[in-house]
């Protein structure tokens, strides 16, 4: 078990290293650095000024060296200005140059500085991840129980009318991408001129102009039922259909097992059979699927957070990519690798725990 964990951690580190180097390489191509210089300096800088900016801010040295600086294995760059103070990667972040460390990178716990948000990357990522965490939490709270319920109900009696109905619904929701369902929901629930809201206002059911808010920005300060419903539903419905299908497949398989027939012959009630005998075995497959759904949810939050202007992790990723914010993008890559590989690890361990027949290592 210990060896298994060590090996997994090794894979995680290696993947993170490779991925960040690729991101580093792509974001440090010359044209991208010019974009960065222009967004930081001024959009209408001349070419000479752009080159000057690149040199003065330490972007002119070899790629591998700078990657090493970011990791914290190569000393940070320093530079003496003609008439000004000493500048450098590690110096700019402290008030007195004498206090500056030689190394300042990931190994020293310094994630770099976000050029887009004018703040340390660590702070930006922490607040945004917390915001996405809230979104994910509510998505999970809505998605997992409803998906399992739908899956179990559909799988209890294969081929019944309930099964056909629920399965069709599940396929429809999972076949509708977030960027379609999100827009449809906004039009239907959050417009004062079309959809449901004008009727509700007419009938005096709601006070405000719209039922749900089509914009989740205010959820940063305070999450309410009205501002968080649409983004949560948009992500949850998409994942729900998939998990429900998996649960149904697993459930129908379990329901045909010998021991279920035995239980039925023994005279156990249908409810007892489903709850006591079938459920635990039927949940093994969905558990893995739910865990593997996390990386997919990261995908979904990018679209949904941008659509509803909710500044979380996905929104930050789009902003960082759009503005060539190198160190923020690298941090996003690290976080993504950690989330994907950790959830996989949890799913493997959980699988063993749920199914004693499987051994790891």
């Amino acid at each position: 078990m210990l060896f298994f964990l060590l090996r997994r951690t090794g894979t995680l580190l290696l993947t993170a290293l490779c991925l960040t180097f690729i991101v580093f390489f792509l974001t440090n191509m010359e044209a991208r650095l010019e974009t960065l210089a222009k967004t930081q300096g001024s959009v209408r800088m001349t070419d000479a000024e752009v080159q000057g900016w690149i040199v003065r801010n330490g972007y002119d040295r070899p790629l591998v060296m700078r990657y090493g600086e970011w990791l914290g294995v190569v000393p940070g760059w320093t530079r003496e200005e003609a008439d000004g103070p000493l500048r450098g990667r590690c110096i700019d972040r402290v008030s007195d140059p004498a206090d500056a460390a030689t190394f300042c990178g990931l190994l020293q716990g310094y994630w770099g500085y976000s050029t887009r948000f004018n703040a340390p990357v660590g702070d930006v990522i922490a607040t945004r991840l917390a915001a996405t965490g809230m979104l994910m939490l509510w998505v999970m709270i809505v998605m997992v129980p409803s998906a399992l319920l739908v899956g179990v109900l559909a799988g209890m009696r294969e081929g019944s009318r309930t099964d056909r109905g629920l399965s069709t619904a599940a396929i429809v929701t999972t076949a509708t991408p977030e960027y379609v369902s999100g827009v449809v929901f906004v039009a239907f629930f959050a417009s004062s001129t079309v959809g449901l809201s004008p009727f509700l206002v007419n009938w005096g059911v709601i006070d405000g102009p719209v039922l749900f808010l089509g914009n989740a920005r205010s959820a940063i300060d305070q999450i309410t039922f009205w501002n968080f419903t649409l983004p949560v539903i948009t992500i949850a419905l998409y994942g729900m259909g998939y998990i429900a299908r998996m649960t149904r497949a697993s459930m129908t398989e379990v329901m045909t097992q010998q021991y279920i027939r035995t239980a039925r012959l023994k005279g156990a009630s249908f409810a007892a059979i489903v709850l006591k005998h079938a459920l635990r075995n039927a949940l093994i497959a969905p558990f893995t699927v739910i865990m593997l759904q996390f990386p997919w949810l990261l995908n979904g939050v990018v679209i949904v957070e941008v659509l509803f202007s909710y500044p979380g992790f996905g929104w930050t990723l789009v902003e960082a990519a759009g503005n060539n914010d190198i160190e923020l993008l690298l941090a996003c890559a690290v976080v993504a690798v950690i989330v994907v590989l950790t959830t996989q690890l949890i799913s493997d361990i959980g699988y063993v725990w749920l199914n004693p027949r499987i051994r790891i290592s």
Partner: protein
Amino acid sequence: MKLQTIPHDRIHPAARMYAGEVAAGKLSRREFLTRATALGVSATAAYGLLGLTAPAAKAQTGTRGGTLRMQMDIRAQKDPRTWDWSELANVCRGWLEYLVEYQRDGSLVPRLLESWEVNEDATEYTLTIRQGVTWNNGEAFTAADVAHNFERWCDGTVEGNSMAGRMAALTDPETNQIRPDAIEVVDDHTLRLNLSQPDIALIVNTADYPAAVVHPSFPGGNPVDNPIGTGPYLPVRHETGIGARIERNEDHDWWGGEDGAYLDAVEFVDLGTDPSAWLSAAESGEIDILYETVGDFIDLFDAIGMVRTEAVTAATICVRYNQNNPPYDNANVRRALTMAVDNAVVLELGYNDLGEVAENHHVCPIHPEYAELPPLEPDPEGALAMLEAEGLADQEFELISIDDSWQAATCDAVAAQLRDAGINISRTILPGATYWNDWANYPFSSTNWAMRPLGVQVLSLAYRSGEAWNETAFANEEFDSTLTQAMSIADADERRDLMRRLQEILQEEGVMIQPYWRSLFRHARPNVQNAEMHPTFEVHYLRYWLEQ
């Protein structure tokens, strides 16, 4: 209005002459106001010269209190003189004020200045600094502070300092710094500027958004970090890409007194660049006012019951050729392509007819020195014939534009007309992040230009040889010398004669297709007062108020 203190006997002679022209019907009232106030005549006095009374400032009826929520991009802050987006300035207007301010009606109103005087040939300016202004750290605001700001603006060694170009007449071209003899502090409240060449636009330039007046202790960088300024507000929160909150500074005795600073707080919300997100936020009551409404969304915001305001401007889009790139180094090619396009059609298809048709020379009828030229006749057959004569009938042209609704639509309309004329043209659309990388060097592309109050200003920024923003690579000796001459002439008719020649050169050389002048629009809830759209996108939230 109590801002005005200039005695009538010091009125610049040219201003009296302009007043005569208004009476003779040669000059519109708006043009007169811009020109007269640029010469140091107060708005009240300028209206007086026309025999009118200045409109009473609506702001005086403002109700105090409330928080205004405005949708606007919140970009990463930087040194004010390097600001490249009006939004950067708008956030800071509550504590960083300006020497003078450009009004919606085209006039200039002194703010931190009390008045200014210009000599006959516009080479010497005497600025009188407003009495009783203090910084919010308690220090008095003096002429030395203003001199310090002029020094900052003139420093051409700072990357991206766009004020340096506007202050060329005060700068030493050798050192790229202010000339030691360019500025004299006469006393605590008087400052004299000695220009190396005549420049009628100097004061107008200090109303431009990068000309925010900062405290001498300002080290450069982010002005939100240590917000010392003269204004009545202070930033409480500023998060790039998210929003900002500005609250009234109750500890500061602002010189404007009761005349402004009505709102308790202003909350800027950055909802990204997609107008449909703004619409959702407006519908659900999350925002009270928009920064700007564009395109199809103008009607949509009307439909949800918000009030539309419009500003007629000289803001425009130039579909221009870069003359460093063949085949656009050939004037016949440029002329032929320009000739094939009917600007009225471009306005209709590209901008929903929300503006005025322009004449390919980047001088607007609202500019004081605009000269009327014969109307343009589109001639698609002639255009193709001209290209054939140059042996370029089969040449494939490529028109590049940014991935932005109206800019892309305008270029599509231009390309469609070229295609109709039988010219082989392809379209390329680039995302904003990569587009601005190389905006000045694309062979054939479009650029949007904000308005400047005087016609000569934009010509000198964009079409003089070797200028940083000269995206057309246009270099014409006659144009340069005529422009230099025009920039020293305060006299209207005389300058208009030169202007006519400048406009003709731009048309003759086929420098660009400049299809229309944009009107700008903004929507606000009915209870938001005094917050009409401003022609240069300025958000004077100091004077906005909410009807309770």
